[in-house]
Amino acid sequence: MASIEITNARKSYGAVDVLHGINLDIQDGEFIVLVGPSGCGKSTLLRMIAGLEEITSGDIAIGGNVVNDLQPKDRDIAMVFQSYALYPHMTVAENMSYALTLRKTAKEKVSAAIDNVAGILGLNALLQRRPKALSGGQRQRVAMGRAIVRQPQAFLFDEPLSNLDARLREQMRTEIRKLHRRLGATSVYVTHDQIEAMTMADRIVAMYDGIVQQVGTPLEIYDRPANIFVASFIGSPAMNFLTGTYQATGNTAAMTLDDGTVIPVLATPNASNGQKVTLGARPEHIDIVENGSVPSVTANVDLIEPMGLSTLVHVTLAGKPVKIFTLARPDLAIDSTVQIAFNMDKTHLFDSESELRLPPASEPHSSQPA
């Protein structure tokens, strides 16, 4: 196992810059998830670590050795592809042993390794089958097995669960997590699915437009997003955003929405009076309240989505759609009005211009915007 250090890595295709100087330190044994919308450069970064894409400038080191000019096979990494990339003409056992056979590993060692990994992944009964005779989940497992057999320094996953149905994806998510705990291997996992990122990562690397937006543990990213992009990308249902101006008097502050509605917020030393700001509130941080019980604002009910465990209420506030998540089952009529209150301690303020988060005065400096 090994650490991976990425220093100022850039990638350009001709005049098009895909990655603008990525810096990332991945600890030995860490499970890192690169997450972002398609086209953000996360797969390119992974393929650069694997050696499938050349590095335009900068360095990538695995286990302390710069691997920029090494062939993929000499980097001692294993990769699981989205399409699994199983060799269709080989049996499951041959697929898993291919790398070892190429390295001229002794036959007994190979079969012992295959048996061991097949046992871990529950593939014993399938060893003599060919990939086309397997289900999607089984193929996924074989692809994992092929990676594990080699005992590489690091595992690279390129959206490995995207081709599975929702239930299987959930199941494989926990399996990969357990496997990681068992093997303790450094892993870099690429996904566009923020739920996978949240549930699997030791640390999340949120990427957008070829730039690392934020690096942090899932809860750090969730609770203190560095900017509007991270705030909107992580979390489902997504965060609500309302624009307005910031106004502080002494230790109390408020923002005035575009239609004049006033919402109390935590004072921040980083904003000045009259500054254009964006309020970010997660659906679970907005409450439906009785009239007059707490400072509240009036919104119109658009839609109610009962989900059994919870209810998602869609309302309109200051002309903007706002989603409210509640474990209660509110008795609301569509097109009626409702009083809602923002949980001031949990809402975020962002500078509308730079889109960066404006941390409140009360917050210790712990988040690390990139």
Binding site: Q71, K73, M79, F81, A85, Y87, Y98, L102
Partner: protein
């Protein structure tokens, strides 16, 4: 659309009069109905495929010589007995094998190399791909004439080049040397047939997912190992089917030989297909020509069945 209406059987509605005539005739017309629909196609197939085949085969057992008004009688197996002792025919059989497999081996190997080259990214690739296809588009008679001239020391450059390279002592026409003449049409055929293999194999190459090569390169496979364990298995079905089709096609393909050497000198380039042509259109002995054609048909059928059996055995072993 209208849920209240009971579902009606349109066929029965259309057959009201028949229905009145009774159960039997109604059932009979029901059985015959599908055949009415396919009959135009069946009639066409019988007219343009089966009739000529049967007619041609029947000629093999009859004495049909165009210039002899008294010919046309049934001769039984006489043509086939004559064939057994026809040294020109036996020579043509050997030449056919030489011609077919000599052309095929080079067409396939060079076509595969060309396909692998065209599968790489380079500037002007689309143009080159289009140009590569050109020999295939040239009418075979034209390419035959062209190659015949190229081998001719009076008008063509090839003998002079070969002499300069030291391969020939003096410039001469290999088409007039019984030992070398077959190479003339074979070279022309190679030039003509490479595009077919290049294009079909290129299509097969492009259907191989790139991630397999990436996975293999991570697994540590060299380019050669990737070729053996990914490219070849993926190309195998295409290779098998194209080789079989082209074998049959080349064995029957006499155009280049007829144009370049007319089977000569001294029958040294006579293949079965050109021998049929010679018998039918020079000696005007259609009966004997048909008998040879029948033998060629049987040989190629046997070959095709053999290849199909082999392929089936291989795919069974596969699954």
């Amino acid at each position: 659309m209208d849920g209240d209406k009971p579902v009606t059987n349109m066929t029965d509605v259309g057959k009201r009069p028949a229905a009145r005539r009774g159960v039997f005739s109604r059932r009979l017309s029901g059985i015959l109905e599908p055949y009415y629909y396919v009959s135009p196609a069946v009639v066409l197939i019988i007219a343009v495929m089966l009739m000529p085949l049967i007619l041609g085969l029947s000629y093999a057992f009859r004495d049909i010589r165009i210039l002899n008004p008294f010919s046309g009688g049934f001769v039984g197996l006489a043509h086939f007995q004559a064939l057994m002792h026809d040294s020109a025919f036996l020579g043509a059989l050997i030449n056919t094998a030489w011609w077919t497999f000599g052309s095929l081996a080079f067409q396939f190997t060079l076509g595969l190399v060309l396909a692998l080259l065209l599968n790489r990214q380079f500037a002007g690739r689309r143009l080159v791909q289009a140009l590569v296809f050109l020999p295939w588009a040239v009418p075979t008679f034209l390419s035959g004439l062209n190659w015949a001239w190229m081998f001719n020391p009076v008008v063509g450059p090839l003998p002079h080049w070969l002499t300069s390279l030291g391969i020939m002592d003096t410039p001469f026409n290999i088409l007039s040397d019984p030992d070398l003449a077959m190479w003339g049409p074979i070279i022309a055929n190679i030039w003509f047939g490479i595009p077919f293999f290049a294009i079909t194999l290129l299509a097969a190459l492009q259907s191989i997912p790139g991630e397999l090569y990436e996975a293999a390169s991570i697994d540590g496979a060299t380019t050669r190992q990737q070729f053996v364990s990914i490219t070849i298995p993926f190309l195998a079905p295409t290779i098998a089917i194209t080789l079989m089709l082209r074998t049959i096609w080349i064995a029957n393909f006499a155009d280049l030989i007829v144009v370049m050497t007319k089977g000569g000198p001294a029958d040294s380039t006579q293949i079965v297909a050109s021998y049929i042509f010679t018998q039918a259109f020079r000696r005007l002995d259609f009966g004997y020509a048909s008998a040879i054609a029948a033998v060629l048909l049987v040989l190629l059928l046997a070959y095709a069945l053999g290849v199909i059996a082999l392929r089936r055995a291989m795919t069974h072993a596969d699954s």
